[in-house]
Symmetry: C2
Amino acid sequence: MMKAKVLVTPKQGILDPQGVAVQHAMSQLGMSCVTEARVGKVIELTFTGENEQKTREKLDQLCQELLSNPVVEDYHILWEGKTA
Amino acid sequence: MMKAKVLVTPKQGILDPQGVAVQHAMSQLGMSCVTEARVGKVIELTFTGENEQKTREKLDQLCQELLSNPVVEDYHILWEGKTA
């Protein structure tokens, strides 16, 4: 069993109204030290299977085709290694 | 300047229809090895200020009050340290 987290965030320079709203709300609640907030998605995945290299390559492909929109979003995969 | 990522994910046992949809879509696109997918939010934050301890405590408080719903969601803070 392997686990991975895919972080999908708006690219730098892309307007992120939800992030602006979070920044304002945090400022109003006493955290005026927050200079920027950007809101994205996290997808936590659990895999079975032995072929780790193939899984990594396929996940990278699906990140581009399914999980993120490469025009406006960046993605980053955090591998958590085998847990069993 | 400090940076942190807040990961907000549905608690174990809480129904996550978006995660089920992602799992099915990945399976159809050739990754049938995905046994579970859970979809949450990531909030990327940039801070100014010197008092790191206070910032950490305050962020922890706002995670509970603003950024997550503690009834159905877990949160996890990834600190990225000072970058400048």
